[in-house]
Amino acid sequence: MTTLPDHTDKKLGLVIDLDICVGCQACATSCKEWNTGGYSAPLTDHDPYGADPDGAWLNRVHTYEVANEHFTGTVHFPRSCLHCEDAACVTVCPTGASYKRQADGIVLVNPDTCIGCKLCSWACPYGAREYDHDQGVMKKCTLCVDRIYNETLPEEDRTPACVRACPTGARAFGDLGDPESPVSQSVADRGGFDLMAEMGYKPTNKYLPPRKGTDQAPQTQAEPAPATTRSPIEKLFAWADRALSR
């Protein structure tokens, strides 16, 4: 059914820390690697080694230049499905292939009933859905639904592939509907925010802002300048130093 559930028991999602993401693309490549063999299989590519490579990816990492009072610098910005509470991609679907699960809030596409009309990708403000030309169906982040509940995997691997791959710990996975969960705590502590909150899709995934450079730097005293004797020889050295460094 493409009507949305009244509520979901959990709100599983990601928290992405823009402060520590280094833009290494490990999350994007490991997402592609897992999902081309998992629920979304295959995630096809066209001309992957040629001049005009193109393919379906579920996670994309942009890099922006940002300058505000708080922070000036480069921000690496991973972008994937935010598993919105008010997911317009689901309600526009004419077939019921797109749906939001009541148990955990994950938004999925059933590849066996999708007709590839692409309307869901038009309805998504985040550009999170990518069409698979080979398969003729829409692909999107599944929050690695085939990993997180998979008891044949070691427990530490039951987390989305992007989270598992992140070398800096910039991605965290958990229940954002539970205020006590570590992900909800980090959102509360760090002032986590929604993307395009103004549009009202109520995304589940949250982003943490980059910290100010001086927030974490240790405070050190400047060493006092050594007392000078103002002797002629010292003046000579000072003159030589200035002359040579000109």
Binding site: R60, Y64, V75, R79, V90, P94, T113, G116, G127
Partner: protein, 311 residues
């Protein structure tokens, strides 16, 4: 938004077909066109032919056309599904009317069937317009006038077609020409107001909102070296000067020229078999350009992640 030819052909052809069906139904209810006449048969055949051509063309837009029947299931939430249901439902009274006409059966049944066909035509075109108008992500489409413009353009193009049919059957057509002229003027005024509106209001969503950060200066590095699906589908852009010329073309060919022809027909009714085809051909060309622009000028908010400043 990428202007897909299948969708342009679908919305213009089926729009004209439903418009023709609408006027045909009304004309029959008003007692003008008896079902047994050959002009009625020709008109309903052309109307259903255009509708069917449009619907078939729309399935070329699908990745899995063989599963298209599934699109009838989600009418509770999806305007696309509602459109499919309305389109199929309209075939029932319209198909029966066509059968009555084919066998020359004059029955009282033709009146409710004609009325239902007209209603079905309106409902289907309204759903088409709402597919676009319901998308908050595209400000050029999420506009209250959009479904009304779809209705008005369908009515105008259908009316021009009916004038052509009347011209060939030698029936009196001054009244219908006047109606078609009014529909065309109404649609043209709505379209001009719509253009003024979307031009006056720039996009309210900014790159800062998209990233949730203040002071986004520029995209330093995109995630991929070549355009991906999102950029090709949602990032289509038409140059501003180009769009202005095309809008002028729409005003000329979709509205001014056929409007002038219809005025001559409404006033004198002369030379109809020569003039009516001119009106139809100009309107068809102009409406295809109008529909192409409707897509090409539409801005999608996801492009904020790819360097757009507002959408």
């Amino acid at each position: 938004m990428h202007p897909a030819y299948s969708v342009i052909l679908f919305t213009t052809a089926s729009g004209a077909g439903y418009g023709l069906l609408f006027w045909l139904g009304l004309a029959h209810v008003a007692g003008r066109l008896p079902v047994a006449g050959w002009d009625f048969l020709a008109a309903i055949t052309i109307a259903l032919g255009l509708v069917t051509l449009g619907l078939l063309s729309s399935t070329f837009h699908l990745g899995r056309p063989e599963r298209a029947w599934r699109a009838l299931s989600q009418w509770r939430s999806s305007w696309l599904s509602r459109e499919g249901v309305a389109a199929l439902a309209t075939y029932v009274p319209a198909g029966l009317l066509m059968l009555l006409s084919l066998f020359g059966v004059g029955s009282w049944l033709s009146l409710p069937l004609a009325l239902l066909s007209a209603l079905g035509a309106v409902a289907t075109v309204w759903c088409t317009g709402m597919i676009y108008a319901s998308l908050k992500t595209i400000r050029h489409w999420h506009h209250p006038l959009v479904p009304w413009i779809y209705l008005a353009l369908a009515a105008a193009s259908g009316a021009v077609l009916l004038v052509l049919l009347l011209a060939f059957s030698g029936a009196p057509l001054r009244g219908m020409s006047a109606l078609a002229l009014l529909a065309l003027i109404g649609a043209g005024l709505l379209k001009r107001r719509y253009w003024r509106d979307v031009d006056a209001r720039p996009g309210a969503i900014t790159a800062d909102m998209a990233l949730g950060l203040e002071g986004v200066q520029r995209q330093l590095e995109p995630p991929h070296t070549r355009p991906n699906y999102v950029m090709r589908e949602m990032g289509y852009q038409v140059a501003r000067t180009h769009a202005r010329d095309l809008r002028r073309m729409v005003l000329t060919w979709a509205f001014a020229v056929p409007g002038g022809v219809l005025l001559i027909l409404a006033l004198w009714g002369a030379l109809a078999p020569v003039l009516a085809p001119i009106a139809v051909m100009c309107a068809a060309g102009g409406l295809v350009v109008e529909r192409w622009l409707f897509f090409a000028e539409a801005e999608h908010v996801s492009m904020l992640y790819y360097g757009a400043e507002q959408a």
